[in-house]
Symmetry: C2
Subunit: 150 residues, 2 copies
């Protein structure tokens, strides 16, 4: 069977690994203009003692370091959950070309709710945005994680 979203499956793998480390299971992948994976990361807030340790931010920083540029022109980001305002703004700064995400995040999202980063005049770059990619898998991972934590 053809995997229509291999990069999102990779992001889901990163999310699962994050859960195994006791982190909220969210994963992200940055893909270069040629289709190669430049960076992949899961949340690392508790382990790294880093309030900014979201999967997207880590993957963006890794990819920028790899490319030797603070702008990821032509690069796409896959993330298993709707990015928060911090990560959405970082996506804008990094000039990400296309953003693919899984489930919406009505409590902490920064795109479809709340800060709505890509609808603000103060945001000077907007990627193409595709939500709902493998959203059931993504949401199930989060539900399973928080169930075991209660």
């Amino acid at each position: 069977m053809i995997d229509t979203f291999p990069h999102m499956h990779r992001a889901l793998d990163e999310a699962r690994k994050a859960a195994d480390r006791g982190e909220v299971p969210i994963g992200a992948v940055v893909v270069g203009p040629n289709g190669l994976v430049l960076a992949a990361a899961g949340n690392d807030v508790v382990g790294a003692k880093d309030p900014t340790g979201h999967a997207e931010l880590i993957a963006i920083r890794q990819a920028a370091k790899l490319l030797g540029s603070e702008r990821l022109e032509g690069c796409d980001l896959y993330v298993t959950l709707e990015p928060c305002a911090m990560c959405a703004q970082a996506i804008a700064f990094a000039r990400i070309r296309r953003l693919y995400y899984g489930a919406d995040d009505e409590k902490g999202g920064g795109i479809t709710v709340g800060a709505r980063i890509f609808s603000q005049k103060t945001t000077h770059h907007r990627p193409e945005i595709y939500g709902g990619i493998l959203e059931r898998e993504s949401a199930q991972l989060l539900r399973d994680f928080f169930k075991t934590r209660r």
Copy 2:
């Protein structure tokens, strides 16, 4: 003469050092509950090839690492310019107690304009906020920097 805002002067020093490195002159300082400086940083976007290399984000990450906690309870942040949406959301995640900033940033700010992070229901922590601290010095630094760049 008494220095009413020693921490903001320290942040301005960091902003000046950033300008000397060719970075946009913005500086930030994190102060612990006991009044000691935990971290101080200037922008480091171009040098570090990091689209997230804003002074606030770097200082928050440094302080969290130093304290061994992703939450900076009781800590205050001084920054020479109104934080963008990315940094404002990071300030919320880090549970910063008080935010002191210099000039407003009507083009890229995330507090008084645009995303207005601390006015959103999706933001689960709001610091006390004091703007306009040494704003003339802060704004002058930015004007001087962009003048030499044209």
